[in-house]
């Protein structure tokens, strides 16, 4: 049903970010930046369907209405663009704008190249080799090799107005204060590190996603106690990631706590270098059977989903693995015994962990809990605790890097929303660190063949089948220590109505209104 914009009140959101995400187009601040500034002010060629809370989100047409690959050359993709879409500044969205935006990220020689946006966008579209205008509403993108994951990659890239960039003196710093996208929201004003105000775009091209609020105010509140206090004292209406220990008090005071499964996991990534105890599948399975996930969930006040695999159980790519990830310490001990370990010869290993970090949930108590679980079956873990940014560096450097101090495990939380980021990048032999983020130096021709099949299966249903097969291998061979999935909690006033928490890192704010108190 067609809707009109505005009239629904003002919603003030306390984000976890320390600053307003980059406003010029390709945002910074990770998933939160795209959630609040990327998919609000801008659109991608291919968007995420964020309308349902009951199933994992899929891709839907955005600024492109359809996309096809060449039957004879699967590296060539044709995108038909949506007619009649205008940027907030009134200029027209067309094929030239698409090419201009891709140049902005990928061509360091072009006038509009922006290193800051490029830093955020370039690595999201590793498959793209070239692109060109076919006609005013058609673009062709060529990939380096056949790669069916391109639509997922392109869902990261949002489009800003070339005409606005010209109007702002070709200066991205000026564009930051007067940005222009095609999205359902327009940036009305922004004060660095303090607030951004978004208002509805009454001319938005998608009538079903017309913003209903009068205003959406984003406030960076990186400190969890400050976020909770701001909500409970009425200064904001919604906070991201309330700390678990404040949730009972919030619920007791009538606040709503919204949560849902989403594509995110919390694992130990395992080293497969020579001499790593994780090279023995029995040790890997034993560790997976040693973890009391129900107890861990209790520790987190119920705010986690117990892992049954690498992907959340509700994932469309979960499949039917034969190895059941569950708590069975006796079975774990038996497996370790079979592998040659007992009380006099216990498994000894090191794990890199961080005291905090984006998406890391509550890493210290969670890891300590697991340390005890593992010790109970005969696996002694010594922690190497490093600061979060340093841990990211060690993750990129790989298990063989001396900085890892011989650790055979690294505790990391992963975004699992698309095939490349969720699965391929962790275990592809072409991406062994430091060439990529295969931290553990895992290499298996069978897995590489599956990854190749994902990339060359262009029918999405068939591709989903391959993804399920791939995930089954992840689980059956216990390639990670699979522990938990976060549930993206957010707390809000009961006056916030119409929010549907999609099983996605990104959310739709257009359906929200504020009920009178």
């Amino acid at each position: 049903m067609a809707q009109t914009a505005g009239g629904g009140g003002t919603l003030r959101i306390g984000m976890t970010a320390a600053d307003i995400p980059l406003t010029t187009g390709q945002t910074d601040q990770g998933g939160e930046g795209m959630r609040f500034m990327g998919y609000t002010v801008y659109d991608a060629l291919i968007n995420w369907d964020l309308t349902s809370a009951d199933k994992p989100s899929g891709l839907i047409p955005g600024l492109a209405t359809e996309w096809t690959t060449d039957d004879t050359d699967k590296t060539k993709w044709t995108f038909k663009l949506r007619e009649g879409v205008k940027f907030h500044d009134g200029s027209e969205f067309n094929a030239d704008a698409v090419v201009w935006n891709l140049d902005k990220l990928l061509d360091s020689e072009c006038a509009q190249y922006d290193p800051r946006q490029s830093a955020q966008g370039k690595s999201r579209i590793p498959a793209v080799a070239s692109y060109k205008v076919i006609d005013p509403m058609t673009v062709e993108i060529t990939t380096k090799e056949p790669d069916a994951t391109l639509p997922y990659q392109l869902a990261w890239i949002v489009y800003s107005s070339p005409a606005n960039w010209e109007a702002q003196g070709k200066d991205w710093e000026k564009v930051a204060y007067q940005p222009s996208g095609t999205g359902p929201w327009k940036l009305a004003s922004f004060a660095p590190r303090e607030r951004a105000e978004l208002v509805p775009n009454p001319d938005y091209w998608d009538n079903t996603r017309m913003a209903q609020l009068d205003k959406l105010i984003l406030i960076p509140l990186p400190e969890p106690n400050a976020r909770s206090a701001a909500l409970m004292s009425g200064q904001v209406d919604w906070i991201e990631a309330p700390s678990p220990d404040t949730i009972p008090a919030m619920q007791a005071n009538g606040f709503t706590v919204s949560s849902n499964a989403y594509p995110h996991n919390w694992t130990w990534h395992l080293s497969r270098l020579e001499n790593s105890p994780w090279n023995d599948i029995r040790v890997r399975k034993a560790a997976n059977l040693a973890i009391d996930r129900a107890g861990l969930k209790q520790l987190l006040g119920g705010l986690m989903i117990e892992a049954k695999g690498f992907l959340p159980p509700s994932s469309q790519w979960f499949g039917n693995p034969t190895f059941e990830v569950k708590y069975d310490p006796e079975a774990a001990k038996a497996l370790l015994k079979e592998a040659g370990f007992d009380d006099t010869n216990r498994v000894k290993l090191k794990a890199l962990i961080s005291p905090s970090g984006s998406g890391q949930m509550l890493p210290l108590p969670m890891n300590e809990y697991m340390q005890q679980n593992l010790a109970d079956v005969g696996i002694d873990v010594e922690f190497v605790v490093v600061e979060w940014n340093q841990m990211i560096n060690l993750w990129r450097a790989g298990a063989a890097d001396p900085g890892c101090q011989g650790a055979q495990s690294i505790n990391f939380s992963y975004f699992t929303q698309d095939p490349f980021t969720g699965l391929i990048r962790h275990l592809s032999s072409a991406l062994i660190a430091p060439n990529g983020t295969n931290w553990g130096h895992y290499s298996d021709p069978e897995m590489d063949a599956l990854f190749s099949e994902i990339r060359t299966t262009f029918d999405s249903a068939a591709q989903d089948d391959v993804l399920r097969k791939t995930h089954e291998k992840f689980v059956n061979e216990a390639l990670f220590l699979m522990v938990a999935h976060d549930v993206a909690p957010r707390a809000m006033k009961p006056t916030v109505t119409g929010f549907v928490q999609a099983q996605n890192w990104f959310q739709n704010f257009s359906s929200i209104t504020m009920k009178s108190a």
């Binding site: 910074d28 955020q120 400050a226 940014n389």
Partner: protein
């Protein structure tokens, strides 16, 4: 007096140079990579290297310092890696907000600390002294971020009287001197004032106690001077030291409020510093530390000059 001021001003130059070198080097020692926080995890080694080159982080440290210092001389503190905005505007905007908070805290701390200190000194070794000293020690000992959280729970969350976070209804950029805005200052300023109240009270107590036991005070009483007039003499004698302590407290208030600004989400230099550390934003970190360090240097200079103006013995020394 003029030559004294000139000598002190000239001393600022080597100090500023030393401060700039230390600021630059200190942040280099920190583990990690400044590009980590601004690049997606998927960034390849090649892309990271390109960014490193774009920000000049691939150059040897002395070259990086020379470039930084040369720009600094021209008032350019570079651009923040995380936000891309000029460091100078980020830092001075934040310092302005911190100054606002520091002034508010000083307005609370100085009279209260002084009155408490004089009272304790005057009633030395009585129950009044013990009470005031106890309060002063508590003020210095209680972790102020904890006190801030307690005040927020009581006055914002439970009673709903005062805002818990922020710098005004429209943010610090729309600050105005009216009650609607001053409300936002009250809780962080009270929290920030607790430590200086304790320090000032204890210093003034010791000073007042010592001066009151001096012979000249007895002489003044013997000459028939009233208690009020005698106390004025005592205050004049204590002023130079008190001024020195207060001057240092102002500098402390400006730079030492990281946790309080974080608790109250006050967009000041402490908050900026903590974000810069968290994001490993080297130019922002260097700029913020440098400005805060220079503020210490300048406030020391002002205190020295003011002390010299009050107490002629200092100029001779």
């Amino acid at each position: 007096m003029f030559s004294y001021i000139l000598r002190r001003l000239l001393l600022v130059i080597p100090v500023a140079f030393g401060v700039s070198v230390i600021c630059f080097l200190l942040v280099q020692i920190a583990p990690g990579d400044p590009l980590t926080s601004i690049m997606p995890a998927e960034a390849t080694a090649e892309e990271q290297a390109a960014m490193r080159a774009a920000y000049g982080l691939d150059k040897p440290l002395p070259v990086q310092y020379a470039i930084w210092a040369a720009k600094l001389v021209h008032g350019d503190m570079g651009n923040s890696i995380a936000s891309g905005r000029p460091v100078a505007s980020e830092v001075f905007g934040a310092v302005k907000n911190s100054l606002l908070l520091a002034v508010a805290a000083a307005i609370i701390a100085f009279p209260i600390g002084t009155i408490l200190g004089f009272t304790a000194g005057y009633f030395r070794d009585t129950w009044v002294d013990r009470l005031v000293t106890g309060v002063a020690i508590a003020g210095v000992s209680v972790p102020n971020y904890w006190l801030g959280i307690v005040l927020v729970i009581i006055f914002s969350v439970t009673l709903g009287w005062l805002p818990a976070i922020g710098a005004g209804p429209g943010g610090s950029q729309h600050w105005a001197w009216d009650f609607e805005h001053i409300r936002y200052l009250i809780l962080p300023a009270i929290t920030l004032s607790v430590v200086p109240i304790g320090i000032i009270a204890r210093t003034i107590r010791a000073l007042a106690g010592d001066i009151l036991s001096m012979e000249f005070v007895q002489a003044l009483y013997a000459k028939g001077m009233s208690r009020g007039d005698v106390l004025c003499h005592v205050a004049r004698n204590a002023a130079a030291t008190a001024l020195s302590v207060m001057g240092l407290q102002i500098a402390q208030l400006l730079g030492g409020s990281i946790l309080i600004e974080t608790v109250f989400n006050w967009p000041g230099s402490g908050f900026l510093l903590s974000n810069a550390i968290f994001q490993q934003d080297l130019p922002l970190l260097q700029g913020t530390i440098l400005v805060l360090a220079m503020f210490f240097v300048i406030s020391n200079l002002v205190v020295d000059v003011a002390q010299a103006a009050i107490d002629p013995r200092i100029k001779r020394g």
